[in-house]
Symmetry: D2
Subunit: 135 residues, 4 copies
């Protein structure tokens, strides 16, 4: 709902739920992966493909490798942008994702997410990703 | 961000994340509590009180009792409204909450959530809730 | 793994993960539903039926109604028992579930969970549950 | 509860909850971080330090960087070991963690997790970690 796309970077705006924070009062690490996956799925949906469609068609997108820097912490109620750009590298789609707090533009997360596509359980060469690449 | 308030009912609009669904392809039950808590916190915040402030001040709002009907299931990507109204009953704030799918207006969840306030670990008589009650 | 069954009450022992607590330092409400669902699935599995089997066979067990008292809070690292008993009422299986902290036997949660079974999308009369009822 | 330590590798055994799986029927990526954090906290606790103690004392352990290979997927009900070894590198504690399915010894996750310690909001040189290092 809160997405914008300038042709290169897809931006999804979200707000931290208090239930996503732990006793330290900041977002638990695992939830940043939730945010980034949500943003990738919004990116797909903006291009006409839903995750539910993919599951039904037995096209399974799976993260194969992930590197992530936790730079600053988000806390309850803060609004943030997930910025995503995508490129292709062999069988993989590479999502470069950043999470930026809206109030002060602080970069909270920098991540590189490598995604593969399996169809009926078989690793594909990534042709599936072609249609999502920037023109 | 996506809230509206007509003076009686506070409405928070959200979208199901695919990670909130389980192998049945629908939202796992526990996540409806997450949605409803988020809506209650948005309601508080709209009136100038954040959950983080409350924790800092050792005012702990806690659900004491919950009844919930699961009427229809939401699935990945669906947009829904959490409708919340609040009233006071003794020491408790009573939130009547419904979750309604936006596309077809199907009621998915009907719940009654009884919340108490503890300050420095002691149960209060609920004076805290007065300022949030509809005038 | 940590289950025991005396013929009437099925007991599942778990430990709170710190990531399940929120900024108040106690388990977020929604997670109690996660614990209770896990215990119900362990109960099924102990009788030879896995959730994955059910999904594959399009037998969908769904919570229709839930009432829950939050009596005491659990916090990070605490060990607790989920005690479950089951009975049949028409089309529903009724699970009475309690969550009890092991260290001091404090009752934390008392819940009544009404479960229905749908097969290929159709509500059943609950025959499915017969085999799980105490003899 | 299910931990063992051979002096070098700390092993925590867990079982996948169905609620941790998504519509693909496998564990959602974010939950592997939950498992690994839980194992690290169990490791600390086995050495006499709980996360709750640390929060109270304003010692905040935070993941600064994480690299993770998703090699095989876990699905509902599967039992797995989280294997953790720790070493020190400057201000960081480095946890090398693997998740291995018990039934067939398949490696599911390989990760390197870099943790820093902040005390009263200030980055430490990591002296805190010394007592946890293998002798």
């Amino acid at each position: 709902m809160h997405n914008r796309f300038d042709g290169t970077t897809f931006v999804t705006t979200l707000k931290v739920r208090d239930s996503e924070c732990d006793a330290q009062g900041v977002v638990n690490n695992a939830n940043y992966l939730v945010y980034m996956e949500y943003a990738r799925h919004e990116f797909l949906e903006a291009q006409g493909v839903t995750f539910a469609d993919l599951v039904r068609d037995q096209v399974y997108l799976m993260v194969a490798h992930l590197e992530i820097d936790f730079v600053n912490s988000l806390s309850g109620g803060q609004v943030f942008d997930v910025e995503s750009t995508v490129s292709r590298k062999g069988a993989k789609a590479i999502f470069d994702q950043r999470i930026v707090r809206v109030s002060d533009k602080a970069v909270c997360i920098r991540a590189r997410v490598e995604v593969i596509a399996k169809i009926n359980g078989k690793l594909t060469r990534g042709e599936f990703f072609d249609r999502f690449m920037p023109k």
